[in-house]
Symmetry: C2
Subunit: 592 residues, 2 copies
Amino acid sequence: MSTYIAPLRDMQFILNDVAGLDEICALPGNEECSVDLVESILDEASKFATGVLDPINRAGDTVGSVCKDGVVTTAPGFKDAYKLFCETGWNAMPFSPEFGGQGLPAVVTMAVNEMWKSANMAFALCPMLTGGAIEAIAHHASDELKQKYLPKMVEGTWSGTMNLTEPAAGSDLAAISTKAKAVGDGTYLVSGTKIFITWGENDCAENIIHLVLARLPDAPPGLKGISLFLVPKFLVNDDGSLGQRNDLICASIEHKMGIHGSPTAVMSYGEKEGAVGYLIGEENKGIGYMFTMMNHARVNVGLEGVGIAERAYQHALWYARERIQGAIVGDKSGVKKPILHHPDVRRLLMDVKARTEAMRTLAYYAAAQIDKAHAGDAVAQARIDLLTPVVKGWSTEQGVELSSAALQVFGGVGFIEETGACQYYRDSRITTIYEGTTAIQANDLVGRKLAREKVPGAGMKAMLAEINATAAELAGNPSLANIAVNLKNGANSLSTATDWVIANYESNPQAVHAGSVPFLHLTGIVAGGWLMAKSAAIAAQRIAAGDSDAFYQAKLATAEYFATHRLPFAAAYASEVTGGAAAVFGLPENLF
Amino acid sequence: MSTYIAPLRDMQFILNDVAGLDEICALPGNEECSVDLVESILDEASKFATGVLDPINRAGDTVGSVCKDGVVTTAPGFKDAYKLFCETGWNAMPFSPEFGGQGLPAVVTMAVNEMWKSANMAFALCPMLTGGAIEAIAHHASDELKQKYLPKMVEGTWSGTMNLTEPAAGSDLAAISTKAKAVGDGTYLVSGTKIFITWGENDCAENIIHLVLARLPDAPPGLKGISLFLVPKFLVNDDGSLGQRNDLICASIEHKMGIHGSPTAVMSYGEKEGAVGYLIGEENKGIGYMFTMMNHARVNVGLEGVGIAERAYQHALWYARERIQGAIVGDKSGVKKPILHHPDVRRLLMDVKARTEAMRTLAYYAAAQIDKAHAGDAVAQARIDLLTPVVKGWSTEQGVELSSAALQVFGGVGFIEETGACQYYRDSRITTIYEGTTAIQANDLVGRKLAREKVPGAGMKAMLAEINATAAELAGNPSLANIAVNLKNGANSLSTATDWVIANYESNPQAVHAGSVPFLHLTGIVAGGWLMAKSAAIAAQRIAAGDSDAFYQAKLATAEYFATHRLPFAAAYASEVTGGAAAVFGLPENLF
């Protein structure tokens, strides 16, 4: 079996040379961060990922989490790993020092989080959900709630969850029916059933802080009548110690196709007297607060696409170097070689590698925009608004495809569970669904982030201008000219499709939504191709300056691959957007 | 849960109007076949698929086959279903009346087999493998072996297997090391281990007839030193009764990601004295004989892509009609409707439907060529040679993508095993691997079927001429003009890529193989698009003639969708072929 080794060189290149880590360290509040410090953090994180999380990933899949009488036992090794994870400070890394965090920039946590997701995606969901809950509390809850809950959550001693979905309220949050009523002492009683609650119950954390969307009596219907409540598993005494068990229970956990290590709970609130909850912020504003968690979570789920593709790649590469099978076409010696030498195995691995690098670059670049926006940069805010659905939607769709491509490298043994390739394939399949399906992301992109922008399309057009500038810059270098041409063509396709979306959204939003997912793919390919082109330009400069680090040769090669094998698909996606809507609706419903 | 209903109208349209069933019934040897007879056969088959095979599919997945001490117990219901399958004559349908078969044309068995694969792909593997073994025996074995084994195999009382793969010999059959030696009485003793033997051991058939590739002492090395042996589980007495147990055993069955109902065996031959085997045909010609089975099996595995996509589609459509979630974009009433009304759900289902129809049309069309070639038509033989790797490789790759698209329709519940969508997604994943991976198919296509043809590219160019003629024909009808333009563009891309393959194969076969899989996708899209265009032309004629069958409207709609959403991708695949080889090899092995 293979061992996960963090791709530190690529991570550092992207952080330092593409995402501008030094700039970000210079922003107010990041004074303690430095390029050197980040390098040692990544080194330490890679050791934790390789040494602690990767070895228990398989047990997470084969044994998984088990629920009996409302008590969840996580997979062998998970509890100890979680303890160590918290003790060594990894849980606290991204959060504000005010509550015990280390306050590291988003771009740094992005690289570290990628390692957790590669090594053990099911495990990584626990700190990810806790992080989302921390964000929502930190931004919207009272000081009293913050002081009482955040320090333990930042440590990781208490984990956190997001409770949105109900049986009849999935993508349609307006249908939420869980109830809350004020008791009169400032607390509320919550009752209802929530499903798909990631890490909703577990034996790793001492307490679990549930953030629950519910309706107050007489609340307006729909999205404007939903409030957000903090509902702890154990009530917390004033001195911070744990009090009595709250009236909530894990009714069962789901039997899923993948991420078996992550307990996905059906949570039942208020079967007896009602679960004690605390209002976060104001009444009826819960949906807005929840989006604080959602945006955080969406970029992080996009990163799962990167992480799982990287891990699947490493596993397939290990096999492709080990497995000897057949002579190589065109090799007259007839010598049998590792299958990495077979052209199509080479193509599969190159495909996974190049596309994973493009996704990684986009994700870290997006995180840099989060850091800049946090420091007040409006341009960066517009960029991260635009790219959040792309990072989530495109990277997860790619992650599914690439974990499949990696499985294919194994041939017959790829389909055997013991080989381990199946796990990545199965695990990845949830990523295009949770935290908003690909269609939800795509509709956000063409709607809120484009056609319904204050100046429709302004954010996309600003990015396209930068993309075209990069293409023009590369065109001058003969060794990059091929990349430049493909990038320019891709940008033209995206520009045409953007204009079409803006021109048609008002009059025919259905037609635009019929092409929103192809538009998402198109945006991902062009944005990813752009950042790979920028990376190639930097690599070419270094080589021209005499730098002999082979990494730069490799980056040129993956950028060239992405340009010649992925950017040509931009035109096809654009034609689906601009010329395909009528055909989507061509069949009356009864004829399906 | 949904119930499988065979898409009889589409099947009959393709058989009668595209594949030319009446012509095929008129061929010598098919005199007893008629369009009416086929219609009633399909009706009966659909009842068997819906009533017997579909209901046990889930148990096949959840319980699966179990092996204990060499004895395999198949999933609940499988044994009874198999008995009924044989008793009602379904097993015998495709085979020669000489041995008790019904001798129906390939094109008819193709439609019937699709139903088995949709309803229960794991079950359908048993008759499929038996069929391959029957073909090999019927074509190559002595009359004595044929008389002794074929009648029971045609009935299905005895099942059959293909034993190719060994731990060190997967795609590279030249590495086979299983041994056979002549005893002197005309029989042989076989010893060695074979893996991935589909239905290698089971409790459904009374005897299992293994066809085993093995080497005789002093055989030449490589592919030219492999012979094919018939090795029965129970020796057969001269009167046809079962004799003693042969020296072979199922060592274990694999723990696979899908098709749990199909026991995939590790077979151990000759642990004691050696397993008694009978030479099929001549010594050292086993690989050629095995390809008789392989070509049969490849088209049939391609059909699995069709069958699983159809079943996944029906399951997702059922949910999309049932599940109510959210108001529809652009619908000012705000009324919540079934999710089929959401544009992206509509797109997903249209995508699965249109592409499944294209694959079905290609598979039945290919089967019609088999029937014509069987009657001596050399043009049809060239066409089926060309299309066999396309039906196998393209349809299975599509099947994986489409079962994923169907799962996406379910949203969160799609990832829960009880929903059933996961099974199709997991089951489908083997199809691009067994019976030759997609790369093996693609290399066969660009090599043997194109560049190394007697007149290189002649078969492809003949098909392209027909495709261009169809495009020209459609261009005259304004309602089909859009299809015509997209088909013409696709054909141009395929033509360019074909020329490139022929021009470069001799001097740089590695470069051609680096683009063989994109070339396979390209061929599939254009060939599928062509047959959908032909279908649209027929539908348009019927409508113009006053036929009010809504099926023709639906066919026009799916053809239009395929033309506007799939054919545009042809150009991108072609550019991967003609301009992407260098990039595949751009990274030295040590830099992966």
